[in-house]
Symmetry: none
Subunit: 227 residues, 4 copies
DNA sequence: AATGAATGAGTATTCATTCAT
DNA sequence: GATGAATGAATACTCATTCAT
């Protein structure tokens, strides 16, 4: 009944300096989170069921309530975790150390590539927006989720303008939304687009073409009028 | 939205001098569609319930099955109708009659504005993509939904390149996806963005700022390198 | 919308000397009866649905109520018709003209063969007995259904005893039940027997073997002790 | 009717000194089975409802699905249980220890009497045959249901032939079907027969007469030609 | 005679959640 | 910390039947 993932989890715990808890408890919680993330992402909030989650995590359903109190709170935990992971992985980019244009390109490529690997976050956001962010609003850690990257964007634009490689007048917030959006829509709507346009958009070569287009489009959009 | 049987029914009615609305299958069908569209768009496929739809349409639940056979088929009808409406309203734009850049700008503004008024289509697409287009795949009228606009895009690019006002090398399909995407993401994710960035993105002035940014960004992205 | 069976039905009507009715009405009634018989026999009273019956008879569901007033009354009509047909076909046997043993054998073979061709009657009886003859009790023509054959049985036994070819002491009513029963059970339970005994009992050679066994068994059971 | 888990549960209970009935899965399961058997037997598969079964077993409807997964699986459990009970009670007969004719008579009387007491099995078989054994086919324990008695029949015939008390040429399988059938039909169709023949066939004296007839008929049918 | 629209009570099944141990 | 039993309300869907024309 016990699973092998124990080791890594315990290690992570130890590393983060938390008091040592009974291994089972940590592992069970982690297993619930992993399965719930998959289920919510693939079926939406309504579509995912506590029975399925419990079964697939090989735990008793009651444990979900033991650790998370309710389906909604479990979902919120999943959502917060997704934001944390996204931000944490953005934080490794070190955009401030790069040339401004290189920084923008890197950010776009990073965003695009993160969606190629895993659309979990996209699906969670789709679900949450369908509910008008009803659950996310209840989060307490929300405020810490997004600001840094907007500010980083601002610093890039400033440096770029100063160097004359980026045209002035770009708003960091809206630029950020735009860059994400260009990457996002292709993946968030990949299934309906594939049906409507009768093309398989998730084939590697199509994805590669798309990636090139996105980078090219953005680079041209931010360049000064006469280089 | 109206069906062909209208003619005969209305004609017969007029002829017999009876009051217009009796046991009006067309009206009932239309009422179900209208309510279902609202419900599916606001709650997703799983979230919307046949009981609610029936209640809100003031019809007997059984009628849904009389006219649409199943919840899924009703949802598909709603989805197809949304595509048809979207394409029909795009078709009124007459892009081929405009200057290339003007045409692009008009298309972007039109797309953006259509989302301002009504996020129904966005929500239906979100729901459908969560289900990997499971239902849309079953549509028989699908093929007629999207091609014309991509071709129009191609003609605009061609004219723009010829006139030297649009840079060469842009792919019409990917350009179309990008333009839609830039408009789309802001609205599809407006609730989570509002929470995360602690801003109310649906306030008119924010929307106006966003609109200007989008148009500006696109116009700069398609311009030739040295004008 | 009209069907070809019209002719035969009308002919039958004419032959029976009834006043000529509008053909459609007769045909519709007949079509409902035919389909309902099939449906009730194959699915039981609960299992058969008025929707299905209407669809398969290519008539409007309302017609069932027009002609038969309710599902139960339709079912009763089907049941009465089945009894009438069974008795009518028994009446063609002319058992009184045969040698007593020959008459018994003929009756057994006739009963057995009638089940080979068509298990409709068996299924209707199964359904009706599950309901404790709730519906049949309401029939008004019931009394005329069965007596003649029991009396015929009595005459055969009398003649057989007199001739010394049938042992005395056999009760005509119970003999009749026994003869029917020996034929009946094999067919009424053919599906469960086939599964339990892992044999396909409806294969022609198995049926033939069964028929021979039944005749042999009965003939031996009625014979006088010392021939 | 009781299950093996009883022992451990009861033992544990006794050991811990707790009151006997707590949240007793065995009892609940058994109660559902008992009620379901009654309901399916008296109303057929379609006629019996999960709501009724739950109410009459004084359990929450959800429990049916907890223990049996679906109405069909519950019905299958009921069916298998009925076969097991029937075979188990047959097994107590010890036919091999009796004189051949006595053994046949005992088997017939036993079969007849088992139907007098309880027509549950008959009704379940009627229901199942109406569905063409659709459910029984899915049983995994089916094969073990019937073979022993046929073989016992074979041994009786062999002994009887050797002793010259049973005529040769009787097939054990068909003899078994015939013996059951003679008993079965009277009870399976007792309601329709009672209506048609305007007699109450379930009155004790009629049943007794029938029993005597059946035994007499069978004994005469198996006897050698010249005693 | 015939039709399609409409109804309300019913079906099996699933849901998130809580209780007892 | 963990479990299996238990719950009641909700789900999509079907039923026999009646209404209006």
């Amino acid at each position: 009944m016990r699973k092998k993932e124990n080791h890594s989890v315990t290690a992570a715990d130890a590393a983060s300096g938390k008091p040592i808890r009974r291994r089972d408890s940590v592992a069970t919680r982690a297993r619930i989170m992993a399965v719930a993330t998959r289920e919510f992402a693939s079926k939406g909030y309504e579509g995912a069921g506590t029975d399925d989650i419990a079964d697939r995590a090989s735990i008793n359903k009651r444990m979900i309530y033991h650790y998370f109190a309710s389906k909604e709170r479990l979902y919120l935990a999943v959502l917060e975790n997704a934001y944390l992971k996204a931000r944490a992985s953005e934080a490794t980019l070190d955009l401030d150390q790069m040339e401004p244009l290189k920084a923008l390109q890197t950010f776009v490529e990073f965003t695009f590539d993160s969606f190629v690997q895993d659309r979990t976050f996209i699906n969670l956001l789709a679900t949450e927006n369908l509910q008008k962010a009803k659950v996310l609003k209840k989060s307490k850690s929300v405020s810490s989720f997004n600001s840094p990257i907007i500010q980083a964007m601002g610093r890039i634009l400033k440096r770029g303008e100063a160097q004359g490689v980026i045209r002035p007048g770009l708003d960091p917030l809206h630029l950020w939304i735009t860059l994400i959006g260009i990457c996002y829509f292709f993946f968030s709507n990949i299934y309906t687009l594939s049906v409507i346009l009768e093309t398989q958009f998730d084939k590697p070569d199509v994805v590669a073409t798309r990636r090139a287009h996105v980078v090219d489009f953005v680079m041209n959009a931010v360049r000064p009028h006469k280089a």
